[in-house]
Symmetry: C2
Subunit: 420 residues, 2 copies
């Protein structure tokens, strides 16, 4: 799918700095991006909002700790912009063109641990955080897998073992493992294009989407989760539903007794040597939005990706046990994935909130709506992190000009650069 | 005034960790601190909220930059807790007792640039930010004085020279200098004890205090400022009104073309070598609350104080021009201060949003409600930073057990410790 197929302004036409969102003291009324007016989800205002979410909603801090940042040695490589590939719809395209096609706000590439490419546009800069949307889920899934590895969380437990409040809900007979892999039968829709879908009810409950006047729905993420009814069996088809990740976040809190934000800081942000604090959306009960609330810098997302590529070893330490990385990158069950997996990931699978492609590069990824991504290509020894603000939420709109570009980049880097 | 004179639980009884605010997943209903329920201003919930404001309201980041933090060399000095002084009401008291009397959340002391004392309690820790309330004003006044020094802002300009929108308001014929020194005749009350006072209207407009259902008032700080009417002359009596600082913040933005938060980062947070980012409350137009929105760490407030004590030189550079520091610490006009200055600061004055005592130590201070403070004692070569969550807003409730304690500390340190 090319831009030409959409009715939206191009990346250049919708540049948030050129459009002047929130510029001026005060900004003119027609240049305001207000949470109450859903501006943070409305393209093209979203292109400013995604890089400024903490100005719109309450957040908590994911502390980076006191130590120095883990170095990402810089070795700019020329020629990447000219890499040619064919989109999934059969069109020839250059790498540089793919960035505009995807409304890329920021993108960077590590090859064998070296920062070979880094670009920021619009409202972004290296030190600025951008919403990661459902890339958050992969952080949650990694933490959960670490806890399973330690025995603090057990795959076979049913959810009420730790959360009695969820007995009698969709999760009453679901196991921790089924939650981690999104094999849950629950009456809830993740269709972002449907304003009545459960995903929006969930967001309103958590305060991450504005509530209409007289709103009488759930007042928190957990209150919403307690309302969910079972629909269909667990342990069968993969079905991507954000509520599962928030149940997993709840399980993690109960298993550890530590707040999610604090745990994320202790277990990943600090040992990864992240260079900036991250922001995380919280609801009115102080519950972090485990399914999509993280806002991070691009380089700090690269750090997680590089740790995963290196069997969990990064920044001079074993940040994540190798067994945890192997479990995740091995992927899930492609049979379970077939019915509901996106058409752009044929033969793929989902495990512990990560997407596996099962391609010949062993590529796996963290993915968030509107184009947020961490892509790890073990064969090519590359990690790519991307923030974007595509007009449409679903990544099937970005994949045709992204997935083949990333594959071509990996092949080019592997053949172009001799081993260090 | 001692604790015994108030009907409030003591500092120990109101410890926010012991009381369990926002603990649990989710916290029980009676342990929630919600913005909409004004919990962040209700003692004793305030003792949690003041250390967690960004979880309750939108904020922007004051970036610390990429460099290392400026060192505050640690030389713990024994005996400070036992320093004896007499309160302003004539009672003998030990330093350690004064901390509880003032509901101190965090306090630290620099002597000749060395960190000789540092204590955190309740919800606080060295890396955590706490609301600075009107200590924010002194940051704003320092930035403004720097701009005046550079000629970017001129004392004699009337406000409409930069903000035509304020012609016809209280500020139509006010000068920049009069705004800086709070010598403005404006129909607006800063009485925190009166729920109908203008300060609460201002806070509701800016979204830093909850709006009632059907709220139809101003939608932003600037919209509220445009409604203010003149009452009495300018340039006469000092009258402490937060709106003046937000006018000054607006003037700074118009003079520089840079957002307040960005300017605060560039001019102070980065060159001071602050160790953590700060948070700053913003309204729905992205306007930083220049009159009271800063949340910082204790040590980072010390860094501004030490720079002021050292004629602006700190962290290996001239962060603030010496002439700017001399201007501020010289204080304002005690005659103008007499009518409305707090009774605990007799003979004092106000200049550029800083409080001068004109005592024989040359003490001057940044002060915020509920006990936030930076106190600089040039004679004793000390800087004290304090965060507190006293049940009552006005510092006259803390001064009796604070001001003589700080003076006694300065005398003790000067005589106890030989020059380095």
């Amino acid at each position: 799918m090319s831009n030409a197929a959409t009715p939206f302004p191009t990346a250049t036409e919708s540049d948030p700095v050129a459009l002047g969102w929130m510029q001026g003291a005060p900004p003119p009324a027609e240049r305001l991006v207000r949470f109450q007016e859903m501006g943070h989800f409305q393209f093209p205002k979203s292109r400013w909002a995604f890089a400024n979410l903490r100005q719109l909603v309450p957040t908590t801090r994911i502390w980076r700790g006191e130590g120095p940042a883990a170095t990402l040695p810089r070795h700019d490589v020329d020629g990447i912009d000219d890499i040619r590939f064919t989109t999934l719809t059969g069109q020839p395209m250059r790498w540089a063109e793919s960035l505009a096609a995807n409304y890329t706000d920021a993108i960077a590439v590590l090859h064998r641990g070296q920062l070979v490419y880094e670009r920021y546009s619009g409202a972004m800069a290296p030190h600025r955080t951008h919403t990661a949307f459902s890339v958050t889920k992969s952080y949650t899934g990694t933490l959960a897998t670490m806890l399973v590895h330690e025995g603090v969380l057990q795959e076979g437990w049913t959810v009420p073992h730790l959360i009695p409040e969820l007995a009698g809900t969709a999760y009453g007979d679901a196991t921790v493992r089924q939650v981690m892999d999104m094999q849950i039968g629950v009456d809830y829709s993740e269709d972002y294009a449907d304003p009545n879908a459960g995903i929006w009810e969930h967001a309103r409950a958590g305060g991450t989407f504005p509530r209409p006047p007289g709103y009488a729905g759930a007042q928190s993420f957990f209150a919403f989760l307690r309302q969910l009814k079972k629909q269909g069996p667990h342990g069968q088809d993969f079905a991507y539903k954000t509520v599962n990740t928030d149940v997993l976040g709840w399980l993690i809190r109960r298993a550890t007794g530590v707040g999610y934000g604090e745990l994320l800081s202790q277990r990943l942000w600090q040992p990864l040597g992240c260079e900036e604090d991250a922001d995380m959306m919280v609801d009115s009960e102080g519950t972090e939005f485990a399914g999509g609330g993280l806002c991070a810098t691009l380089r700090d997302m690269l750090r997680l990706g590089e740790a995963m590529r290196c069997d969990g070893a990064f920044n001079g330490r074993q940040v994540i046990p190798a067994a945890v990385v192997h479990d995740i990158r091995g992927g899930g069950n492609p049979e379970a994935f077939r019915a509901n997996g996106p058409p752009t990931l044929p033969g793929g699978s989902y495990r512990a909130m990560w997407w596996a492609t099962h391609d010949d590069h062993g590529t796996y990824a963290a993915r968030g709506i509107h184009g947020q991504a961490i892509v790890i290509d073990p064969w090519a020894e590359t990690v790519i992190a991307r923030f974007a603000s595509h007009p449409l939420a679903a990544n099937v709109h970005l994949d045709p000009t992204s997935l083949p570009a990333y594959r071509a980049l990996g092949q080019w880097l592997r053949h172009h650069r001799s081993p260090a």
